[in-house]
């Protein structure tokens, strides 16, 4: 407990045991956070993003065929302004190409978005991949 006296606050010298318990739990959690972040600081030296595009689902919507995708970043470094291009191909011929930009794909994280095609990608080759990024 804290004693407020004449606008000067004096912490009591014999605190309740619960204050020590909460203090100890807090110390453990703060230490755990420090260790977790420090561990990544020592172990993870990947200085550039590593991006991988994955198609999650395709469905027909009002304006065409909507492809929901996910860009995964398996490196520690974050990519910003990630350009994503989706292409529908028939053999080597590109039938349709759609682009979008994701604001951020943080390190060891993923970001999702959607591409809308005029043609149905079913039965054709659909690829979604990151084509460019900035460093934040």
């Amino acid at each position: 407990m804290t004693k407020v006296s004449n606008h000067r606050n004096i912490e009591t010298s014999d605190p309740h045991w619960i204050e020590w318990i909460i203090g100890a739990i807090s110390a453990v959690i703060v230490l755990a956070v420090i260790v977790w972040i420090g561990k990544d600081g020592i172990a993870d030296h990947d200085a550039s993003p590593d991006l991988e595009g994955i198609v999650l689902q395709t469905e027909e919507r009002s304006d065409g065929f909507q492809v929901i995708f996910e860009i995964r970043n398996i490196a520690r470094a974050t990519a910003s302004q990630v350009k994503v291009r989706g292409e529908i191909k028939d053999e080597a011929l590109v039938l349709e190409s759609v682009e979008t930009v994701l604001d951020y794909v943080p390190g060891h994280s993923k970001a999702a978005g959607g591409l809308i095609f005029q043609q149905n990608p079913a039965g054709k080759q659909l690829t979604v991949r990151a084509t460019a990024f900035d460093e934040p």
Partner: protein
């Protein structure tokens, strides 16, 4: 006393002065957020269940805040609930016209967008209204005189003990207060992306040092002293570390509410929480001095 407690001694002038103070507090605390682009956008797109949870969580927060730092030391729970509702309503009615006046809310927008924006802004505005009524000179002159002259008649303001839970609650409010200002902005996540883990560790150390220094080392009005013979690490373990943990939890909640840590990896989440906890920790420390 700003608002009279019974119908008999109801003072119209004091009542409206209290309302005006509430609006002043709401403006003072919420204007930075009313002028933040991300707050308008969040009002439009944020997940409605998270907004609903935030709106619900604000009710007990306002009630406890009213009981704890309200303008009357002896207020009952019924009065606390009444004051909390007034503060919440003031938060809504003071942020709505400002959003309209600034052209953020237009007549052709859907009710979904308009209500979302006002509801989100009402949170900081209502906390501001509550704090404004207590901090912008809540007591009348007579009360101040009493405080200065009294002392041996057991005046509660002269000698009162704040409970440990009360101190932790104040720290939570202070942390929430500074956090809400910056949590919605893109800068918080951008900073965490720019930082390496080593930067994050330096920020943790800085937060703890500044937090402890704010309350114990610097001689601000309302500073805390240790009882004689108590080693200084006692206060560090009992107050500063739990306070920092509270700032971290409040930061996590704000970031989750504002969709800033969805789909993000664990270390990256921790780093965002750490950077947001920096202002949170200072807010928590400042609250112990001010409130």
């Amino acid at each position: 006393m700003t608002i009279a407690t019974t119908r008999r001694d109801f003072d119209k002038r004091k009542f409206f002065a209290g309302i005006a103070r509430g609006i002043a507090g709401a403006l003072l605390f919420a204007l930075p957020m009313l002028m933040t682009m991300e707050m308008w956008e969040l009002g439009v797109y944020m997940d409605r269940s998270r907004l609903f949870l935030l709106l619900l969580a604000n009710i007990p927060l306002l009630i406890i805040l009213s009981d704890r730092v309200g303008f009357e030391e002896t207020s009952t729970w019924r009065q606390a609930i009444r004051d909390a509702s007034i503060a919440y309503a003031l938060g809504i009615v003071s942020s709505a016209p400002i959003l309209v006046a600034m052209g953020v809310i237009k007549y052709d927008q859907s009710p979904h967008e308009i209500i979302g924006m006002i509801a989100l802004q009402a949170i900081p505005a209502s906390i501001g209204a509550m704090l404004g009524r207590s901090q912008l000179g809540g007591q009348s002159n007579e009360d101040d005189n009493e405080k200065d002259s009294g002392g041996d008649d057991g005046n509660p303001v002269q000698e009162r003990e704040t409970s440990y839970a009360g101190e932790l609650f104040l720290m939570a409010v202070g942390a929430l207060f500074l956090n809400l200002n910056v949590a919605p902005t893109e800068e918080m996540i951008l900073l965490s992306y720019k930082m390496t883990p080593w930067h994050a560790l330096a920020i943790i150390a800085a937060s703890l040092i500044v937090m402890h220094g704010f309350v114990y080392a610097l001689s601000f009005k309302g500073s805390h002293d240790l009882a004689e013979g108590t080693p200084s690490w006692h206060a560090f373990v009992r107050f500063t570390l739990p306070g920092y943990l509270i700032a971290g939890l409040i930061s996590s909640y704000c970031l989750w509410t504002f969709h800033r840590i969805d789909d993000v990896g664990s270390t990256q989440i921790l780093m965002t929480v750490v950077i947001l906890s920096f202002p949170g920790a200072i807010g928590a420390a400042a609250a112990r001095l001010i409130l």
